[in-house]
Symmetry: none
Subunit: 314 residues, 4 copies
């Protein structure tokens, strides 16, 4: 059994990643923490609670609300053209009886790491603010974390909020750099790989066709939520009824590392500049900078990844 804690700014692709984690055999989600990004931290928690209610896992999944602003500066507000007004494509999922914890996100992270020493994988799907706050508050947890897999950044693939920057890291560069400097076993699932994996309209057909009875509402949700997301990806990236698989790939790679190919290098996050604030700076020189090594996913078995994603619901 693999324990994972997910930190998310629960938008559309986050929601699929969370549903996958809840449904994938052999995986136990010990908690979900939320932050701002695709939507507010509070709305992200509300979405997450409804998604857990939809998935009906056979165990309790605590949800904690986290930072609603990056370490430096303010949150720009939600992105309804990408994720709808409510963050999950304006789908009205049934309200969950579960409430978020009173405990802030960073405390839940700290508590769960200590509860599962060397046995907990952290997967961040949004900005790294909550994880950074946890590491600031309790730096002693670093050696207790099994590993961290994050969706974010890019090495050579074009960025999505600047020519060279990805949104999750650009959304809180200081937090990301703090995590990069902490000395964790850290794996980056960035645009180099997430843009290679596509969820197509055909895949949605397959999902509906093959979803287990209990997962039909999930399939229906995904199809509905994808409408907004497909439209954005078409307008932004010329994607014709398909979209890249960002957040779910981070969970997939955490669960099945055979999906990706990895290169390692000392890395930092650029916190200044006009185009580069939030950029991953990985150093492959003979005499690199003094920074912990980052594991960077450079290739992915795209077919295997996307079909594993869908198969979790069938």
């Amino acid at each position: 059994m693999q324990n994972i804690l997910i930190d998310a700014d629960t938008g559309i692709d986050d929601s699929i990643a969370i549903l996958f984690a809840l449904k994938q055999p052999g995986v136990r989600v010990v908690g979900v923490t939320t932050g701002c990004g695709n939507t507010s931290a509070a709305q992200a928690a509300e979405n997450t609670l409804r998604l857990i209610h939809l998935a009906q896992p056979p165990y309790n999944v605590p949800v904690a609300i986290g930072a609603n602003a990056p370490l430096v500066g303010q949150w720009d507000g939600p992105v309804p053209h990408i994720h709808g007004n409510n963050g999950i494509g304006d789908v009205e999922l049934p309200v969950s009886p579960q409430k978020p914890l009173a405990e802030p996100a960073c405390d839940l992270i700290i508590r769960m790491v200590r509860k599962h020493p060397h046995q907990l994988t952290l997967v961040t799907l949004g900005r790294m603010t909550n994880l950074a706050l946890a590491l600031e508050k309790a730096p002693d947890i670093v050696p207790l974390v099994k590993n961290v897999v994050f969706m974010g950044g890019t090495l050579h693939h074009p960025g999505n909020v600047s020519p060279v920057c990805e949104a999750n890291l650009a959304g809180d560069p200081e937090a990301a750099d703090l995590v990069f400097r902490a000395g964790l076993d850290l794996t980056m699932v960035g645009l180099d790989v997430t843009m290679q994996v596509r969820l197509t309209a055909h895949h949605l057909d397959m999902l509906e066709k093959y979803a287990r009875e209990e997962n039909r509402p999930i399939a229906a949700y995904i199809r509905q939520a994808m409408k907004v997301y497909y439209q954005f990806n078409r307008l932004q990236n010329n994607c014709l009824d398909h979209c890249p698989v960002h957040d779910p790939l981070a969970v997939l790679a955490a669960v099945d590392p055979s999906l990706v190919t990895i290169r390692r290098a000392p890395a930092r996050v650029e916190c200044g500049g006009t185009f580069c604030r939030g950029m991953v700076v990985a150093d492959f020189r003979e005499h690199p900078i003094d920074a912990p090594y980052l594991s960077i996913c450079t290739e992915v078995d795209a077919r295997k990844a996307v079909e594993k994603l869908i198969t979790a619901f069938t």
Copy 2:
């Protein structure tokens, strides 16, 4: 006949580039302008004059001294561990009877562009300060320039002054960005290709073996100058009696564009940040930034390039 004007901070690899241009059939060097970088602008001019004297071209090559500081900030001073105390590996070439022009570098650039409208290729081997000053002073020359080929920058290859930055652009980011924004036909010969082309001790043997009688002093000069350069490349990059071919490849690509593979994208130069000041920001997204397209060399026929370089002297 192809007219080229070279702007150089005449160090060791610049010197080989200049000698190649002077010796390559079909090429006429209409002038050399100098700036600070590998050495001072004045020393670069002195070196250039002696190199022209060494090469004995059958026509006059005017030399003009340019900027001894970047547009913003100061020059850090010479780099004797790379290029020797005099910029050309401490080789004492015979003094030339020729003197530099009184005219500043940027004025020579403007004058030569106007003299050869649509017929002049500018090749910059150092910082882009002189070219930027020329464009500021006479923006009307932009449409008169045939094309510009510059050695500098990097797309995906590690940098040489930071994990992601190359020295020529990092030495004057504001000048480079001004050139990038000007709307010229601009080709970047950066580390992605220059690091693929290696001048080995074996090549130097071949050069000596096959140099024409008149070029034996050139071959002797190159072997001697390479000593310092090989040593630096060994200490910096673990290169064992070989070195990358930076500046000569820019002239080679200007003279024979078949050597390189090109990708084009709107591009700017990052002028801020800790790791990224001076970085080339090329935008390969579906909806790129509003900037002129840059032609970026991504692949090179390395054997063809280096053997063409040596063959010019044989």
Copy 3:
């Protein structure tokens, strides 16, 4: 400072790996354990002591003798046609005043892991017998080991003792499989990458030319020891004055993970069969076997690796 413990059957390439580790800045070798393979465990210890004496590290490096037989069956005896009669190409290095520990190899491994919890990298260059014995005797050290990097095995490259098997794993498949099953952070530096990195006669020239004064005896040793090794590689693999870099690459990858590209999969070692006894069985299927994930090096920056190796002595 990176702590490493090396387990070796100190033959020619092991000796270069050990010398590299002793000379590489930032690395501290906390001990060397020896086993049979290229030579006997006792001779391997004798060779190791002389190599340490040759390298003169500014700290004490304890040496412990380990298993002289695999877990199952017998050792086939030395391979003088590959490594000379004494394991290090019949070079007669000066005798060291240091003696091996009375403590067996597996106990030194256990002791050092406990002394440096989460801070010790184990690098095995021969069979995994000693490490397997340590894990059998003290399974509690598994979570205390930082990581293990081993030279051995092959994924897709041809083997060297059968079409599909490499000597270190084929020499003790049961030990290797025990290590594979233990749940360590385990990286395989196998023939897929070691055969891509070549140490040429030219490199030896460079080593002699650039070795620091104190390292001249090392350069002389390497040149002399290489004679036997080059001859074997010529006869066995048609290598004309060069050889693959096996054992040193494991230390290189342990010290600088940026050199290699990695894929991960659940893996076991085949312990039966005619051609396949000792083969690495990595499972990239959708529903893989239940085994810990192995990190498999699939690509290497060959130039960077070999020049980093030589540069440690310059």
Copy 4:
């Protein structure tokens, strides 16, 4: 006219391969022999007779029943979850008036090879038991066989019955090794290529749309039979309404060798081991084992292959 004899354990993909062979212009199927595997040898013959009846070739195609067990051990029984209860996806094809020969499969092989000396291509789509028995009984036919193309084995692609083994070879390793040792012109169409070629739901639509009038029942059969096969491939390999093209590709490669890229090496079949029994052991070393060369398909023009397959019916 190319004469081929097919040996099959007539399951779903075998059936498409046989139908293709019967419909492909320029090909004459001189006989079909059957063995156990996907179904029993007798049921495979029954399926084959009905397929021939469905295809209505303008000549007689004799069918002979062969071995119902491997050379060593027992047959594990049919695999209804892959090929349905009757081997052809539970499709009830019309009964054929033709009966199987009284002659056993191996005798038909021997007789046909002698009847078409140097003019007959053998294509095996299941275990190699029948061919091995023929070679044992009449070793003199080896030089009379034009060539053998078999579906089975894998070089670098993951296996389907173990991490490294494919079902046809693992089903009778001793038979396969006997064939490998015989000295035939032997081509392996294994998972390295068959997994690259996908028959999708879209292809089935195209087949129905473009099938010639006389081939409509074939198109209907294929669509129906594919239901079971798609389901298995979905459950086993997460394939969403597509499947790899195993057996048809062997016939395709026999008929049009331009479809595949081949590497040749001496090869044997491992007959022992836990994970490797039935594995292809190809030796690409400088000094390989003493075994006949095997031609191994490593790449395939996937689009060309699958469209040629479908086009045979249009």
